[in-house]
Symmetry: C2
Subunit: 337 residues, 2 copies
């Protein structure tokens, strides 16, 4: 595979899944101390990667779960945030300014801080009540953050008796890194073909639904916009039909990410529409990639992880075909703002 280190990838994603027992223990302790709600609070892309876990809890658990943008939480506060709160803060660098400010703000309220970081020797690594460290870089961090936040959500539900299959699901998640690697390998030629089609494309409407919606939002904003300077319109598959559809005509790129949870029909609907009105429809569908030993129930929980892993291959080819390194920035870490 182009510019790819399989061993490094496996180490990182296995490292994420291997945190399950420690996460389960920390969540159990926090619940045992009387935690009454959980906040997922991140900055930019890291915040988006927490969304599937927050959605899962909101829809399947009685435990109140909130997803807040760090800058808004610190600015406006939140009535439910206090000493009975668990606050999950992801930051690969462990140093993101807004995320450190969030930690300080929430610690001052007495909350239990759970940080997800790539490096221990950082403010978020050292000062959180529970710091989970899994080294990753940009090209492997999405899967790692999705998996770690999923482990937190599953643990909350399992401790509360709301998720009976916890042990089986964790066992299946341990198989996932190898399956993700196989999916990358299988997708590589298609990734190159899509990159060839996309290399001069100035604008994409990108959509998905359910747990996979986060990946449409993330890939548009944090990869295509930030790392390739390509205009995107991330729009939820349900919202698509209430505005954005009117932009579709011949020549307009519509990208549909299809996962395997119950919300998949919402993406089918966009695909069916788009195929009628534009010649540029790209569908990335997780369901065609096998994962022996992983049940449909678990696949539905991790479609966003499969999508992230497939799309990393697209990014690898885009940067080469567009002669635009993924690390190239106009502003980030170049000017202050």
């Amino acid at each position: 595979m182009l510019n790819f280190d399989a061993d490094r990838f496996l180490n990182i994603e296995q490292g994420a899944v291997a945190l399950a027992p420690a996460i389960h223990d920390a969540i159990g302790k926090a619940l045992g101390r009387g935690a009454e709600n959980i906040f997922f609070v991140g900055t930019g892309g890291a915040a988006i990667l927490m969304q599937p876990a927050a959605l899962l809890l909101q829809r399947l658990s009685d435990f109140p779960a909130y997803m807040e943008i760090a800058a808004e939480l610190v600015t406006g506060g939140h009535r439910a945030l206090g000493a009975k709160s668990i606050v999950v803060i992801p930051s690969l660098s462990g140093t993101t300014k807004e995320s450190v400010a969030t930690m300080d703000y929430c610690r001052a309220k007495g909350a239990t801080i759970v940080s997800l970081v790539g490096h221990k020797a950082t403010p978020l690594g050292e000062q959180a009540g529970h710091a989970f460290v899994n080294f990753a870089e940009d090209d492997t961090s999405s899967e790692s953050f999705y998996l770690q936040s999923l482990l937190i959500a599953l643990s909350v539900m399992a401790h509360r008796g709301e998720y009976a299959d916890y042990d089986r699901t964790i066992a299946e998640l341990n198989l996932l890194p190898e399956h993700l690697l196989a999916a990358k390998q299988a997708f590589e030629p298609e990734a190159e073909r899509i990159a060839e089609r996309f290399k001069d494309e100035p604008y994409h409407i990108i959509t998905s639904a359910g747990l996979s919606w986060a990946q449409a939002w993330y890939y548009g904003m944090c990869i295509l916009e930030e790392m390739q300077w390509i205009r995107t319109r991330p729009v939820h598959a349900a919202d698509f039909f209430h505005g954005t559809l009117e932009l579709v005509e011949k020549g307009v790129s519509v990208v549909v990410f299809k996962g395997e949870d119950v919300y998949r029909p919402l993406t089918d609907r966009v695909e069916d529409f788009a195929r009628q009105y534009t010649d540029k429809v790209t569908v990335i569908d997780t369901s065609v990639f096998p994962a022996p030993g992983v049940s449909p129930q678990t696949r539905a929980l991790v479609s966003q992880v499969f999508l992230a892993t497939l799309l990393e291959r697209l990014s690898a080819h885009l940067e080469v075909k567009r002669n635009h390194p993924l690390t190239h920035r106009r502003y980030y870490k170049k000017v202050s703002y």
Copy 2:
């Protein structure tokens, strides 16, 4: 003012505010019957217009509040939805397919349905437990829906003893329609100038924060995309710095909506950045429009209403300058999907 009927506008917005006692009564009854949570569930733009009310409750009240996309709720369900739920469903037509399906789904769970409609003789007008009817058309519906959902949120908090200034706030909201009209009149020349600048502009990054963020999202999707077929990128002011900023360069339009709640500094930050790197910065700032008798506290609750009312003037000039009627569609009500 261009293509504008002031009396009609006043009637509609006064009609929205005048629902306060009936809404307060209905919410009081639902709480008295033991309601334990509230869902705001809409489709497309109407859903977005519920977001400020949902956010207010989530951040200021202990009463659990959820904002769900109709199509996702009906597809995947929600653990908190049941006989102890109040479900607020806005639909101007009263007939929106997904919204009617939502009503049926939630009624089957025993929830109390509160519909906000423009016409009584419709499924959502006839079959909801409480139907609030305020005739409006597209150009006046945003303010009406924002106000009605705000009245619901304030009523919940007032009944629960979480909002002491309810009577004063309602009295101030009664002054609002006249102030909105005056703001439109004052903004009219500026609206025309902005429309002149925007008429050939192919793409806008549109941002805001706090309660005003909904209006950036709404105006991008439901007006510029749907009604003018102009590409937009609605992005939260906090997210802007984690991806979308890299698209900014000379010639790229950045539109900043500035409201008056505590989150305003997040929009200041985008404005400061954008002014350094592009020559096309448009700021619409509610704070320059007077509203005698309305306290800063209440103004902070209704910045999104002011923005909607100002932007309607921009839309009115855009359709003329672009020779593209706001009612013109490629697909909506023209083809099935």
